[in-house]
């Protein structure tokens, strides 16, 4: 009995319980003189929940538990010749057995067949069904796979039957418990509240998941690469090919990547902040409502365009344009098509709407009275903006800029297409540099091996990125929130 079929049956029983419970409640309430506590459909829902929830919870726990148990007993049955090798190869052997089991299941689903007991005979049969096997699968794994299948099938049957029994018991108790004065509504509402609460913890779980997934892989990375190599190394050369040879350990220097990341973000901010800020000031202080209603949505369009489109824009238009201009001016190409300048410029364009909409909010939050006071003393509008509004809004604007900067640091697609992949350490903005995000993408495209430092380094880089942006975000949100309270 497969998981989904059991699920379907349980839900069907729940539906029946819903109608029975409702009907019973309606009958009782009609014939009774007492004032009923809950409306009839609450009795129905309570019956449904009591039927479905325990069975569902049991099914989930059972399938996880039985899987783990069967796997561990399979691993225990692996013959000792693999014992001597490392844990990874035991995992590999388990994977092979599971692959075999999967294939045999497919074979049996197609019709009753004799399962050949040698790998050579089995392989073409499975290949016909579109199942590819690992080439070093051993013969002794075939009976193990069959055993695994049998154990799985038994576990599924036991679990499925138990779940059905649980569902029926729940339904019986719920329907039998229908009384005129029974507090069905309170029961249902309590469970709904529990569900709402569970949903709100998903946000926390996500953060925990992010931290733990990266922490785990990062620690594994630092098992094979020293901390100083990563944090203080100035050379990035991970050496994909020489993963196993002990003599040639790759070099995983963070410094050039971090420098590139910050440099490009800096150029982008240099471009986006004046433009975004001036645009926000103009729209908040000078623009007529008509102009505002046209310009603001246009800048917001800029914010809605996916970053991959900006990357394409950099690759096809901005990069070649800057290159040609440099050739025209100096006679030789001093700006590379993929350069810090290209990436920074295009990222700056992307950031303009962020800066402008965040600062717009903050500038309009400055109280009217301060503006009127300054204007009443004879200051011009620009003087009011520069001497009164901006100083008053400064903490908020700093927070906004921090948020923008953290966005620039974490941006991926623009730099992947516009910044280049060479990990240079240079101060020339016309040359290519690379960023943390680019290297994460580079290390994780292609074949993955979760044991090699070449793959794991991506998680260490991701952790660095996460910590960096998290710090900036927390600080920025703190400033923005504090600032908001000041004027509320």
């Amino acid at each position: 009995m497969s998981f989904s079929i059991v699920l379907l049956i349980v839900v069907a029983i729940g539906a029946v319980a819903f109608f029975l419970g409702r009907q019973r409640a309606a009958g009782q309430q009609r014939s009774s003189s007492e004032k009923p506590h809950s409306r009839v459909h609450y009795h129905g829902w309570w019956a449904f929940l009591l039927t479905v929830l325990p069975a569902l919870a049991f099914l989930v726990v059972w399938s996880i538990g039985s899987n783990a148990w069967i796997e561990s007993s399979t691993v225990a049955n692996l013959p000792p010749q693999t014992d001597e090798s490392a844990v990874a190869s035991r995992g590999l052997a388990l994977g092979m057995v599971k692959g075999l089991a999967d294939g045999i299941r497919k074979l049996e689903a197609a019709g009753p067949t004799e399962i050949p007991m040698t790998f050579e005979a089995l392989r073409p049969l499975l290949a016909e069904r579109g199942v590819a096997l690992a080439s070093d699968t051993q013969d002794y794994m075939i009976p193990m796979a069959i055993e695994l299948n049998a154990a799985m099938a038994t576990a599924a049957w036991i679990g499925g039957l138990a779940a059905l029994v649980l569902a029926l018991t729940g339904a019986y108790f719920a329907i039998a418990g229908v009384k005129v004065r029974a507090r069905a509504r309170n029961n249902v509402e309590r469970i709904v509240l529990g569900m709402l609460m569970a949903a709100s913890t998903i946000a926390i779980l996500t953060t925990v998941g992010i931290v733990f997934s990266m922490l785990f892989e990062t620690l594994q990375f630092f098992h094979s690469v020293s901390l100083s190599n990563f944090f203080f190394g100035t050379v990035w050369d991970p050496r994909f090919a020489a993963a196993d040879s002990s003599g040639a350990e790759g070099q995983f220097g963070l410094i050039p990547l971090l420098a590139g990341t910050l440099y490009i973000a800096f150029v982008a901010m240099l471009f986006a902040v004046p433009i975004g800020l001036m645009a926000a000031i103009y729209m908040a202080e000078y623009a007529t409502p008509r102009v505002r209603s046209i310009v603001k949505p246009m800048l917001e369009v800029l914010a809605g365009i996916p970053t991959i489109v900006y990357g394409f824009f950099a690759l096809v238009t901005v990069g070649p344009f800057l290159r040609d201009i440099s050739t025209a001016i100096a006679g030789f190409t001093f700006i590379q098509a993929q350069s810090v300048l290209t990436a920074g410029l295009v990222m700056g364009i992307m950031l303009i709407p962020f800066v402008s909409s965040l600062s717009d909010d903050i500038i309009t939050a400055v109280p009217r009275a301060m503006r009127d006071g300054s204007l009443g003393l004879g200051a011009t509008k620009s003087e009011t903006v520069r001497r009164v509004i901006l100083p008053a809004a400064l903490p908020g604007i700093v927070g906004a800029l921090l948020l923008t900067a953290s966005r620039a640091i974490g941006e991926t697609m623009i730099v992947v297409l516009a910044a280049g992949v060479a990990a240079n350490l240079t101060i020339n903005p016309f040359e290519a540099m690379t960023t943390i995000t680019v290297k994460i993408v580079n290390q994780l495209t292609g074949d993955l091996e979760f044991t090699s430092p070449q793959t794991l380094v991506a998680f260490a880089l991701g952790m660095t990125l996460f910590v960096l942006t998290l710090g900036m975000n927390v600080f920025a949100l703190y400033i923005v929130r504090k600032y908001r309270e000041q004027y509320e």
Partner: protein
């Protein structure tokens, strides 16, 4: 005292202290000009960006095709007459040869001139193989007959026909020969070679040949992921917002959740990709490159957006509604689900659409979970390998050929149209159902 006397004497003419009015007015004007310049720069870049995409991409919606009377000659398809017994005969037959022969006959080229016929054959896309094979397989009785078929020209011929190839460049340095251009002109004059609407762009999967590459698989993948995001993120997001806005006590835990949600909204998207890779693929053993993993990752990414929008919408419902419901004896739960939630639903829907639009354009996390795959077949379930629209754009952007630049821009146009429709829908919903209390 003479000073004072002169002062009194000239009192009729007021002294104008120089307070720099002129300078200040000029500064004011300059400041204003800066603002206008800043906005103009922003809009200029918006236009430049859209211009780049549309000028490069609009031609992708037309593709050069050739109308050929193809003779499905038995001697070419099945020289040994074994197709009744061996299915492989029809699968592996030399179909491009049929198209080549037809074009050779059409152009009046000497069929014995090997190099010339080869040049003629090179004008026809290799996609003709699957096209003719599918025709024969679906109806084997056409063998031996002559059918009129529109076949695709190669990307090089297509570029030349669209005027994107500079014919002044020396023949050796471009991909279409003078002779081919000559043939092209003849075919165009006869009305046999035409630019037809490029349905392939919407239906084909990945391909190394530009003319048979399309966003079909990517669109299916994107649709699967959007459905998964919608089914998961909307209920979870709304439930979380209801709890935080209506029920949660003010304590440490809810504070933590709130800070968390705000932070998650600002976490770089690539980090979510790492999360998906480590948890969904490495730990939970879900298949790589599958839309289910992409959907889950995008769900986690979209949740904060939906939660923030939903909470704003819930907050906008005036307290009097709540008081009225409670006063009439509704329980708190009934108050929320019967009164507050329906009134907040336009705002929630708007926020959800905007979150979906953001998820649709997201690329980086999908690359990490392996959706940068060469997928030529349609995925039938969310567990099959697939790509997504923005990832397809990324892959094409890395291709060097001119024809792929056109395809990339075309795919971007499709993506932008999807986004525009979603955003306009959100604005429409907001305008139509928004209530001011």
């Amino acid at each position: 005292m003479t000073d004072a006397a002169t002062h009194v004497g000239t009192a009729a003419v007021p002294v104008r202290r120089d307070i720099g009015i002129k300078r200040r007015k000029a500064a004011e004007k300059r400041f204003r000009a800066y603002g206008i310049a800043a906005i103009a720069t922003g809009i200029f870049f918006l236009i430049a960006l859209l211009w780049t995409v549309f000028s490069n991409g609009y031609t992708a919606f037309w593709q050069t095709s050739i109308e050929l009377p193809i003779n499905f000659e038995e001697s070419v398809i099945d020289p040994g007459d074994k197709r009744a017994t061996d299915v492989n005969v029809l699968l592996k037959a030399n179909y491009p040869r049929l198209a080549q022969d037809a074009l050779v006959a059409k152009l009046g080229v000497d069929p014995e001139d090997r190099s010339k016929t080869r040049d003629v054959g090179r004008m026809i896309s290799n996609g003709v193989r699957t096209q003719l094979r599918d025709m024969v397989l679906s109806d084997p009785s056409i063998i031996g007959t002559t059918q009129t078929v529109w076949v695709l020209a190669t990307a090089d011929v297509d570029s030349a026909a669209k005027g994107q190839v500079d014919l002044a460049v020396a023949e050796a340095r471009r991909k279409v020969s003078d002779e081919q251009v000559e043939w092209m002109r003849t075919l165009q004059k006869d009305g046999v070679m035409k630019e037809r609407f490029n349905t392939g762009l919407f239906t084909f999967g990945a391909s190394s040949r530009p003319e048979t590459a399309g966003v079909g698989v990517a669109m299916i993948g994107s649709i699967y992921m959007m459905l998964i995001v919608l089914v998961l993120a909307l209920p979870i997001g709304v439930a979380a917002s209801i709890y935080l806005e209506e029920f949660a006590p003010k304590n440490r835990l809810t504070d933590l959740i709130e800070v968390n949600i705000n932070n998650l909204a600002a976490v770089p998207s690539i980090v979510f990709g790492l999360l998906g890779l480590a948890i969904f693929i490495n730990f939970m053993q879900l298949p790589r490159s599958a839309s289910i993993v992409g959907g889950l990752v995008l769900t986690l990414m979209t949740l904060p957006t939906i939660i923030i929008a939903t909470r704003a919408a819930l907050r906008a419902v005036p307290p009097s509604i709540r008081s009225a419901a409670l006063g009439l004896g509704a329980s708190k739960m009934q108050m929320v689900f019967h009164h507050v939630l329906p009134l907040a639903s336009p705002g929630i829907l708007t926020g959800t659409i905007l979150g979906l639009a953001q998820a649709l354009g997201e690329t980086a996390p999908l690359i990490l979970i392996g959706m940068v795959a060469f997928v030529a077949d349609y995925p039938t379930t969310p567990f099959d390998p697939a790509t997504a629209l923005p990832v397809q754009i990324y892959m094409w952007a890395n291709e060097a050929e001119r024809a792929f630049v056109e395809r990339t821009s075309g795919a971007i146009i499709i993506l932008l149209i999807f986004l525009a429709v979603m955003n306009v829908g959100a604005i429409f919903l907001r305008r139509r159902f928004e209530r001011r209390w």
